[in-house]
């Protein structure tokens, strides 16, 4: 079953369960930025409107997990960047431009909050009329950003879990993923040989990380739904279902 079925509260053509269940959580996208302000990972689950996408290669990058490094280095990537950029106001932005804007917002808000209430404070989330952005920053200035629908409660814990259980475990980042074309070679961050930095915004292109993230998000969403059913039926949650068990599922 495609992951988007679980995650997307489809606006135009909603699946019946997703739209009627008030507790459904919609997750739109996920970003990781490193401490050099480079976006090292993007994943967008929501489907974009395709009318502005002229080529089939353009749509494929949106459906499949988008990795910066592969776009940046391959010829198809550079061609794509030129084509998809719509000009003028109101046009749709490319995935990379979206990431830049997200970073700009997150960075400015973080600095604003720090200025106002001291260096140990950090913003957790913000909400607009149509979406909510969750933010988590590690001590090493890695920034994790998750965009969800507005009804979602605080997801800082979830982002922390993604960092601890997925990024640190699998998020071994291929140093020269696309240059060497050694696909899906993966090095665990705990491996002393694996690089800590990602110069030039080399992407996180590890299949295990991808799969882990996908199944984590899916199981988290499913878990929430199950728990909401239980509460509606008046059953206490004593089954030991937590998001930790969702994590365990991925490992």
């Amino acid at each position: 079953m495609p992951i988007s079925y679980y995650l997307r509260g489809d606006i135009t053509n909603p699946p019946s369960s997703a739209s009627t269940t008030p507790t459904t959580m919609t997750i739109y996208s996920f970003y990781i930025f490193d401490r050099h302000c480079e976006c090292i990972y993007i994943k967008q689950w929501h489907q974009r409107d395709r009318t502005f996408r002229p080529t089939s290669s353009a749509t494929s990058t949106v459906d499949s997990p988008v990795t910066l490094s592969s776009d940046r280095h391959s010829a198809a990537g550079s061609k794509l960047q030129n084509e998809v950029h719509p000009s003028g106001r109101g046009g749709r932005l490319s995935v990379q431009d979206d990431a830049k804007l997200v970073f700009g917002v997150v960075f400015s808000l973080r600095n604003m909050v720090r200025k106002l209430s001291g260096p140990d404070d950090s913003f957790i989330s913000y909400r607009t009329g149509s979406y909510k952005l969750h933010y988590y920053e590690t001590a090493t200035n890695l920034k994790f950003v998750l965009l969800t629908d507005v009804k979602t409660s605080n997801l800082k814990v979830v982002l922390h879990q993604i960092y601890v259980n997925l990024y640190v475990e699998f998020g071994g980042f291929c140093y020269n993923y696309s240059a060497s074309m050694v696909c899906l070679l993966f090095i665990v961050t705990k491996n002393p040989l694996s690089p800590i930095e990602h110069p030039g915004g080399e992407g996180v292109a590890v299949e295990l990380f991808e799969m882990g993230l996908d199944s984590f998000i899916v199981s988290y969403c499913t878990l929430r739904r199950v728990r909401s059913w239980l509460t509606r039926l008046g059953i206490e949650n004593n089954t030991g279902l937590t998001y930790h068990s969702a994590i365990g599922y991925t490992r």
Partner: protein, 140 residues
């Protein structure tokens, strides 16, 4: 009710009013407040731009409304004319949107109806401040 601070931004992103009501936020220089207001104005515009629903044909849905951090919660209300009211409150403070609406009413009554007030310029209306303090202070 613990309201920490109020900022009013004009439609160009300039700071036209700032006042602290309770301890909790750092005191910044007036220049820093101006920078902050300008930055927020830009960020607010971008937040409506990066809405995922925009791509799905659902419209932008406006900019930032609530910002949460460990130590405060900021509510932003934008009027139809583009003036922004930023209210900083404690993180668990309920009904801040009601407070914002009330402050907007006071603004309409004591600032906009003041014949000496020049539009888009810094607010120096004694009646406005007096009523604002009367509304926010006694409830803490």
């Amino acid at each position: 009710m613990v309201i920490l601070s109020l900022l009013i931004l004009n439609k160009a992103g300039g700071l036209i009013f700032q006042r602290d009501f309770n301890e909790g936020l750092k005191k910044l220089s007036s220049n820093d407040y101006l920078v902050l207001a300008g930055t927020f104005h830009g960020v607010h515009a971008i937040t409506s731009r990066i809405s995922p629903l925009r791509d799905l044909g659902g419209g932008g849905g406006g900019g930032l409304e609530v910002l949460e951090s460990d130590k405060f919660r900021m509510q932003c209300f934008q009027t139809l004319t583009g003036t922004k009211f930023l209210i900083f409150a404690e993180p668990n403070q309920p009904n801040v949107d009601v407070v914002v609406r009330r402050v907007y009413e006071l603004y309409a009554d004591y600032v906009m109806k003041n014949p000496f007030y020049q539009i888009e310029m810094p607010i120096r209306c004694e009646a406005f401040e007096r009523n604002l303090v009367a509304y926010i202070k006694p409830k803490q």
